[in-house]
């Protein structure tokens, strides 16, 4: 084990007061340093017992001869290694996690329990269909919920995350155009869109053009109409948008796009604001992905897995990907390659190996059943109420660029206007870390200078919001008055600000004996 002060105590160590240079280990009580697995494990150690000896293999020249270099730990060491690492993470279980557009809401533990039931977790995707009827039933039931909540024609369940869902929707648009014998190359995307929108459009071979915004933070309908034409395949619009506003003209946008033969993709990342209150199907949307890991509470897991089912209009439904589940009388069956010719001939094909994120479907369904139609409506209302409460409690100390554009939806947007010279959004974010919060989304959307996008979600109490408002007010005042201590925040986190430039200039992406710490 490494020790920060392995030479032991020296009188000069206490000169500057007590800090981590005064402990032998570098630990500070419950704040524990943890070495890399590669520094504590060894290739001969294993935490798994086997009942049998390994028989001799006869693989000839293909047999592995060189060492792999994979260190192992005993079970007790493994549990401790990962438990100690976990304690260096902030998480929704610890407190408010107001990342805008990410919908970090409470993850119910019932969801975890049902996802592990053997009829869902211990079944193989290629089992004979008669042996997995219960798993198909979950997919089908969840699909019915999504269709009903969105007022759409059907839903493609297989996309693996939001961006994969975008790809699904955009490929449906490609296939629909192809079926009409048209080669339209342009997708229009607002500047305020998530980066995945233009990236997805390009990944599928479209050219991307910006849609201008009005000063109040919404799509400029007149400018959009002026750009529409026979080369435009469609639009990708986020609604509610990333400025936190509902696109009032959504129906008019859809009508205008449809009038010139285009399609409307809606980024559903912000569906949490409107679930149960508005159905995208009533706004002329042709395709919209739903992040089950946002609106429907499946855990983010430190960066996934997500799940991105895509609801589709009647116009795009015929092109949806394989495979999918359908119900015949009382039993379920899969539409896949062998029967697609009869049942789903216009499909654009398969976009992932199997059925999608089953483990997320079970969790999302448990969440929906728990809330019911009445509870989901309350979800949207409380999410929007919490965001407006934050916006109006802070807009006297932080600039709210669209504060006059009407109520916000489920996220409140601020800018860095009015901060002292040399202070930025980043300093506010790092100050929040010291106060015990995860920062909001920063520097996004790009249309606002030094953007701070705050999404509290409906699972926060008024008491939590009031404390957060107090903390953020205090930090805003420090930034406006140029408190130098804020520039070096965080002071109390497991690490101070990290050198991202160094990481990119001299990438160390994998452990090696020589590279670590040199």
């Amino acid at each position: 084990m490494t020790a920060l002060n392995s030479a032991g105590w020296r009188p000069e160590m206490n000169a500057g007061g007590a800090d981590d240079t005064t402990t032998f280990t570098g630990n500070r009580a419950l704040m524990l340093e943890e070495p890399l697995l590669f520094e504590i494990g060894s290739t001969g150690t294993t935490g798994v017992d086997f009942d049998e000896d390994a028989p001799a293999a006869d693989l000839g020249a293909l047999a592995r001869s060189a060492p792999i270099g994979l260190p192992g730990l005993s079970e007790s060491e493994t549990v401790r290694h990962y438990t100690r690492l976990s304690r260096q993470n902030y998480a929704i279980d610890l407190g408010l996690f107001p990342l805008g557009s990410c919908t970090m809401k409470h993850n119910p533990r019932l969801n975890e329990k049902v996802a592990r039931m053997p009829g869902f977790a211990d079944v193989h995707p290629l089992q004979p269909q008669e042996t997995v009827q219960g798993a198909y039933a979950v997919i089908h039931e969840l699909a019915e919920w999504l269709i009903t909540l969105t007022g759409m024609h059907s839903v493609a369940m297989s996309p693996k995350a939001g961006a994969h869902g975008e790809l699904c929707g955009v490929l449906c648009i490609k296939a629909a155009l192809e079926a009409r014998g048209e080669d339209r190359r342009v997708l229009l995307v607002p500047e305020s869109a998530h980066g995945t929108n233009p990236a997805t459009a390009a990944f599928a071979g479209f050219a991307v053009e910006d849609i201008p915004a009005t000063p109040e933070g919404r799509v400029d309908l007149a400018a959009l109409k002026a750009r529409l034409g026979p080369d435009v395949a469609g639009v990708m619009i986020t609604n509610p948008n990333t400025c936190g506003l509902f696109e009032r003209d959504m129906k008019a946008i859809s009508d205008a796009v449809h009038a010139v033969g285009g399609y409307v993709y809606c980024d559903g990342a912000n569906f949490n604001a409107i679930v149960g209150r508005v159905r995208p199907g009533d706004l002329g949307v042709d395709a919209m992905h739903i992040n089950l890991h946002k609106t429907f509470s499946t855990p983010h897991g430190g960066g996934g897995p997500g799940s991105g089912p895509v609801v589709l209009s009647a116009a795009l439904a015929p092109f949806a990907p394989l495979p999918f589940v359908t119900k015949d009388g009382e039993s379920f069956r899969l539409i896949e390659e062998e029967n697609a010719g009869e049942d789903h001939p216009k499909t654009f094909g398969r976009m992932t190996a199997f059925h999608g994120q089953m483990g997320m479907f079970t969790r999302a369904l448990a969440y929906m059943l728990s809330h019911g139609a009445d509870g989901l409506k309350q979800v949207a209302e409380d999410a929007v109420l919490n965001a407006n409460y934050l916006l109006r409690s802070l807009d006297d100390v932080l600039d709210a660029p669209f504060g006059a554009s009407g109520p916000c939806m489920h996220e409140a947007l601020f800018s860095d206007r009015g901060l002292a010279e040399g202070f930025s959004t980043l300093d506010i974010a790092k100050g929040l870390i010291d106060e015990g919060y995860h920062p909001m989304t920063v520097f996004f959307p790009l249309v606002v200078h030094g953007a701070m996008l705050v999404e509290p979600t409906e699972t926060e109490s008024k008491a939590v919001l009031d404390q957060f408002i107090g903390a953020l007010r205090s930090i805003a005042l420090r930034a406006k008055n140029g408190d130098p201590a804020l520039k070096s925040a965080p002071h109390f986190a497991p690490r101070a600000r990290l050198d991202e430039t160094l990481a990119a200039r001299r990438p160390v992406l994998s452990w090696s004996d020589g590279a670590a710490g040199d």
């Binding site: 935490g47 028989p55 293909l62 047999a63 060189a66 192992g72 493994t78 990962y82 438990t83 690492l85 976990s86 304690r87 260096q88 993470n89 809401k105 049902v114 053997p118 009829g119 977790a121 211990d122 193989h124 995707p125 290629l126 042996t131 798993a135 995350a161 994969h164 490929l171 998530h194 390009a202 209150r277 897991g301 430190g302 960066g303 996934g304 897995p305 094909g349 190996a353 059925h355 994120q357 728990s370 809330h371 019911g372 139609a373 509870g375 407006n388 009407g406 790092k430 870390i433 409906e458 699972t459 690490r495 101070a496 990290l498 991202e500 990481a503 990119a504 990438p507 992406l509 590279a515």
Partner: protein
């Protein structure tokens, strides 16, 4: 409602604070025609935890779980024993309920884990670097083809006929719309791979050759000659691994010269989960790192000089580069990567080698036993834990007849290649450490009965 902490009094006070007379005032921007007044019709009202659990348990019981009887399915998803501590640790709230580590000062747990995951994957696959995960093996495979196009500035990919047909389908779907050209086909029921033919077919227009190892029929082969042919033609060799446990026993693709190695990591730590979520592995030689898709975690130092980790080289990614990004991927498979990494840590090199050897030994025993069934033979010369049986009749009805006897006896080639009658008698059988000698005997006896 148990997930909603606001009380009616809170709501009233907060509405007053934002000068709204009712919640409807906050939805004024929604066009009147689209506003819903009451709960959406056709859906049930809220339910207790007990009621939901009861409903889900009833559905769960309607499936025959792999653990309910003898189980021999593979073909891209494998049933291995996952130690209990893996599932316990990934449910630590600090891992489970964290977000992508955008604020590294309070995400070192996730970041250090990702650095360790990347290091484990790179070593296992025999490459220099690996990313922080993709959705699954099939999407990682397409991303590798696109990356090879970026590196070589060529757009013709040769796919081995031994590539998983679903991976091929994903590539075909995407190539239709991106202008990439694919040369592919169905496998033939031969003991050897098509790699020599691929080596002969590589030319100056080829961006990459994609081979699976072990392949869809369970065959394994040496890829050195193919790697040399690719290098000579300026093309990249992309290797796909759907059963990473195999690499405890056989040489890694990277060692044999593959430029990009992608895989499905589900085998280690993740479980079957009816096809997802899984964890895509993506690794390559370090000279191509700036063309990689997805997130990368790198080492650095903090303002006090302490070692720490951050997401890095993000100018490749969609949130910075938008339509010029290397991929549109954002959320990946973080928690599955954690499960993979914990399981790999528990195994260690010694455990992985032993697990692989046990799989191989068990599969050899099964192949020998099943080959004794009259009319049945084993296609493969060599294999790891999966092989292809040739039956005297079409395999699909046999699978259903076995299922009626409570035995899940593999994946028929008829299911995977419905249009190819020449493959209909093939049955892919996977045998892991979860299979017992009794399971093998039961399978052989049932197969004999069904074929009689």
């Amino acid at each position: 409602m148990r997930y909603l902490p606001l009380t009616p009094d809170d709501r009233a006070a907060m509405l007053a604070a934002v000068s709204a007379s009712s919640i409807d005032d906050l939805f004024v921007d929604v066009p009147a025609a689209a506003r819903l007044s009451g709960p959406i019709e056709g859906l049930p009202a809220h339910a207790s935890e007990l009621a939901v659990e009861r409903h889900m348990a009833a559905l769960s019981r309607q499936s025959h779980a792999a653990g309910d009887g003898p189980f021999f399915l593979g073909a891209g998803a494998y049933r291995h024993h996952v130690p209990a501590s893996v599932d316990h640790l990934i449910q630590r709230g600090e891992f489970l309920t964290a977000y992508t580590p955008y604020q590294p000062e309070i995400a070192q747990g996730t970041l250090q884990m990702l650095f360790e995951f990347q290091s484990q994957v790179a070593r296992l696959l025999g490459t220099d670097v690996a990313n922080a995960s993709m959705y699954d093996g099939s999407t990682a495979c397409w991303e590798a083809i696109v990356m090879a196009r970026r590196v070589t500035r060529r757009s013709k990919a040769l796919l081995s006929t031994g590539l998983h047909p679903h991976y091929r389908s994903v590539a075909r779907t995407m190539a239709k719309y991106t202008g990439d050209s694919l040369v592919d086909g169905d496998p033939s029921l031969e003991a050897g791979t098509d790699w020599a033919a691929l080596a002969a077919a590589v030319d100056k227009e080829t961006s990459c050759v994609v081979v699976q190892y072990p392949d869809i029929l369970g065959r394994i082969d040496d890829m050195r000659a193919l790697a040399a042919a690719c290098q000579a033609a300026g093309a990249l060799l992309v290797a796909v691994v759907t059963e990473p446990v195999a690499l405890g026993l056989i040489q890694s693709p990277g060692e044999m010269g593959a430029d990009i190695v992608v895989g499905e990591g589900q085998s280690i730590g993740v479980g079957l989960q009816f096809g997802g979520p899984y964890v895509g592995l993506f690794a390559c030689k370090s000279k191509y790192v700036r063309q990689m898709p997805g997130r990368l975690c790198g080492e650095t130092v903090d303002a006090n000089g302490k070692r720490g980790f951050v997401l890095t080289l993000s100018t490749r990614e969609q949130h910075i580069r938008r339509e010029k990004a290397t991929s549109n991927i954002c959320t990946n498979s973080g928690l599955c990567a954690l499960a993979f990494s914990i399981h790999m840590t528990l195994l260690g090199e010694a455990g992985l080698r032993r697990l692989a050897a046990i799989n191989h030994g068990r599969a050899k025993a099964a192949a020998a036993e099943l080959a004794k069934v009259p009319g049945v033979s084993v296609l493969n010369r060599g294999f790891f834990n999966e092989f292809t049986l040739l039956l005297p009749v079409e395999a699909r009805p046999v699978i259903h007849a076995l299922a009626e006897k409570g035995i899940l006896g593999g994946v028929s080639l008829g299911r995977l290649y419905p249009d190819n009658a020449g493959l209909a008698n093939g049955l892919i059988v996977a045998v892991t450490e979860t299979v017992t000698e009794e399971d093998i005997a039961a399978f052989a006896a049932a197969l004999k009965e069904v074929l009689a």
